[in-house]
Symmetry: C2
C-alpha cells in the first residue's frame, strides 16, 4: 500500500490533537508525519505511534515534501497558508471556514458527497461541525423523500471552542458550585449552568454566522441550492458532542418506520430510538466515537405536508471536525485523486 | 381591602416554597395562611412575613375555612384532594397536570386568557411550565398576525424536577469534575454536562407527554383548537429557567421590528434583543424574576409563508409555576370572582 507524507497544521490544538489520535487509530498510511504549529510551540514533542515527533514551524516551506496537509488553524492562517501549501505540492484538507463557500473548493462529508472531490484543485474544505452532524442523517432522508426545508435548533458543546472552552466550563462549574466569582473569557457570558444563544458573529439578517453555515453549507453539501434552512444555535454546558433537534419537510411522504429503515442502512449513523427503554441519543454516549446517533424519530404533527422530526448527536471534535478531515483524506486515496 | 384565608398545599416542595416567597413579596391580601403537606412534614415550621407558621396535614378537613388553595402537589394527590377542597368551600389553583385538559376547568395564563376564569367551578389549572413561557410571547404575536403553527425546541432546567433535581445536577457536576462515579436517581440518565431529550413519559405517537402539553395546553390557552404544534423537549444542565427556540408560521405577515414593538407593549415580557451588544435572553439572567425575556427575533428564512423565529427564557419555578398560580389568585380577586 502506498504511504504518504502527512502534515497536521495546528497540531497542538483540540482538533489537531484529535486528528493525530484518529490518524493513529485508523492506521492511516503515513510515510512521514510532520507536526506544524505556531512559533511558541516549535520544539515541543508529541507521541505518535510510540515515537516522539517534534513540532516544526508552520510556514510555506514546511509543505515542500507533504502529500496531504490537514489544517486545524484559524481562518486567517488558513487564508494565507493553504494556497502556499498547495503551491508546494500538498493537498490541503482545511477545517477553517475560509474556503467552504468558495465555488472552486469542494465542501465534503464523505458519506454524503464524495463525488465532488474529483473537482478539487488542491484545497478541500471540511464543513462546519453542526452542519456535518446534520448532513449525515439528512442525506439518506433526502434520497428517500426529497428534502424541501430544515428547521434546526442546536445544543452545542463547549469543545466547539477548543481546549480553552472545555477549561472554562470546568473551572466555571467548580466556581459556581463553590459560590466563587467567575470571569468569562472564552465565551461572551457565563457558560456553567447557563445557555448562550450565540455562536460566531451576528450577520445582518440577525442570524449568527454559525446558523448561516447550516443554511449555506447545507445547500452546497447536499447540492440543493433552493433548500430552505432555518437554524438556531445555542452553546450548552456540555463538554463534548453537539445535539440537534431537527424538523424537516419533504417532497414525498416518509413515515418514522421508513426513516428508521433508511437511516439504519446509511453509512456513519446509528439509530438509537427505543424510547420505551429510555434509549435516545445523548452527548455523553456519543463522545469519543465516530457515529452520528439518531433517535426520537417521529411524524411532525404540526406539518400540513410531509414532515418528520428527529434528534441527533455527534462528537463534533471527531465527526464534526478531525475524523471528517481524515475520512476526506482516506476517500481521496481510495478514489485515486492523489 | 378584603383579606383571604390562603392555603399552600405541598408547602415544602420547590414550587410550594416559591409560592410562599411570592405571596410574601407581592403582599397578597392574606387574613390567615395555612401550610399543608404530607404527614412526615407536619409540625415543621416555615417563616412567613416574619412569623413561624406550622405545617398541618394536607387532608379534606384542612380546607374548611380556606378561600384560596394553591396546590403544588402530584397529579395523584390533586386528583383526590382538589374536589374535596372545593367541596369545603375553597377555590383551588392547581399546579399539577391532572385538571388541565378537563373541559370544565379553566387553564389560565393571566396575561393571555384571564376571561376564561369567569367559567370556573372551583378548580383552576395552572399550565405546564414550558407552555406558560411560550404562551406569554405567543399571545401578542397571535393577536397581531394570527398564529397557524408553532415549532418549538426547549432547553429545560433541572429545577423543573423540583429541589431533588437541583441537588442531583450539583452533586453529579462535582463528581464528574472530580472523576468520581455518579448514580442517576431523579433523571433517567446523567444530567451533569449532558442533555436528556426526554421529559415526562412517552406517548403512543413517540412524543413525550411534556411535548404534547405544549400541543394540547397551547391550543386550549390560546383558544385555537386547530393550532399546529410540534415540540421537542430536552433537559439541560441548567439550574433554573427554561429556554425555548421557537419558530412560528402566521396568517398575516409580521416583520421582526413589528414583533419587537408588539412584544414590548405586551404584559409579562421583556424584549432583550441587542445582538450587537451580546444581549439576548439567557437562563442566568431570567432566574428569580418574573418576566419572560424574548430575543433573537428574526425572519424565518426557511418559510415560504409568514414566518418568525425567536428565543425566550423564563424562570419556570416562578412564572412557569408559582408566580402564575399567585397571579391567577390575584386576577380572581380583581375580577371579583371570589
Amino acid at each position: 500500500m502506498k504511504e504518504y507524507c502527512v502534515a497536521v497544521t495546528g497540531a497542538l490544538g483540540a482538533v489537531g490533537q484529535e486528528m493525530l489520535s484518529i490518524l493513529e487509530s485508523r492506521q492511516f498510511p503515513i510515510k512521514k508525519l510532520k507536526l506544524l504549529d505556531i512559533a511558541e510551540n516549535v520544539g515541543k514533542t508529541v507521541k505518535f505511534c510510540g515515537k516522539e515527533v517534534s513540532v516544526e514551524l508552520s510556514e510555506p516551506n514546511a509543505f515542500k515534501e507533504v502529500d496531504i496537509a490537514l489544517f486545524a488553524v484559524s481562518d486567517n492562517v488558513s487564508k494565507k497558508l493553504a494556497p502556499e501549501a498547495v503551491k508546494n505540492g500538498a493537498i490541503v484538507i482545511d477545517n477553517s471556514s475560509t474556503w467552504r463557500m468558495d465555488p472552486e473548493v469542494p465542501l465534503v462529508v464523505p458519506e454524503v458527497n464524495p463525488e465532488v472531490l474529483r473537482q478539487h484543485k488542491g484545497i478541500i474544505a471540511n464543513p462546519n461541525c453542526s452542519t456535518i452532524i446534520a448532513m449525515v442523517p439528512l442525506k439518506p432522508l433526502h434520497e428517500f423523500a426529497g428534502l424541501k426545508r430544515i428547521i434546526a435548533s442546536t445544543y452545542q458543546a463547549v469543545s466547539g471552542a477548543g481546549i480553552a472552552g472545555i477549561g472554562e466550563l470546568k473551572d466555571q462549574s467548580r466556581n459556581v458550585l463553590d459560590n466563587k466569582p467567575i470571569a468569562p473569557k472564552v465565551f461572551a457570558h457565563q457558560i456553567a449552568f447557563n445557555l448562550i444563544p450565540h455562536i460566531d458573529y451576528f450577520e445582518e439578517n440577525a442570524y449568527t454566522h454559525e446558523e448561516m453555515k447550516m443554511f449555506r453549507e447545507g445547500r452546497k453539501i447536499l447540492g440543493l441550492p433552493e433548500l430552505m434552512v432555518n437554524c438556531t444555535c445555542a452553546r450548552v454546558p456540555v463538554v463534548r458532542s453537539h445535539s440537534e433537534s431537527i424538523t424537516i419537510e419533504t417532497e414525498r411522504p416518509i413515515t418514522p418506520d421508513q426513516a428508521r429503515e433508511v437511516l439504519n442502512k446509511a453509512p456513519g449513523l446509528k439509530v438509537v430510538d427505543r424510547p420505551e427503554n429510555n434509549e435516545y441519543p445523548m452527548p455523553v454516549d456519543t463522545a469519543n466515537q465516530d457515529l452520528i446517533f439518531v433517535g426520537r424519530i417521529r411524524e411532525d404533527i404540526s406539518s400540513t405536508g410531509n414532515g418528520l422530526t428527529f434528534w441527533c448527536c455527534g462528537d463534533q471534535v471527531r465527526k464534526g471536525a478531525a475524523l471528517n478531515a481524515v475520512q476526506i483524506a482516506e476517500t481521496i486515496i481510495k478514489m485515486e485523486l492523489i
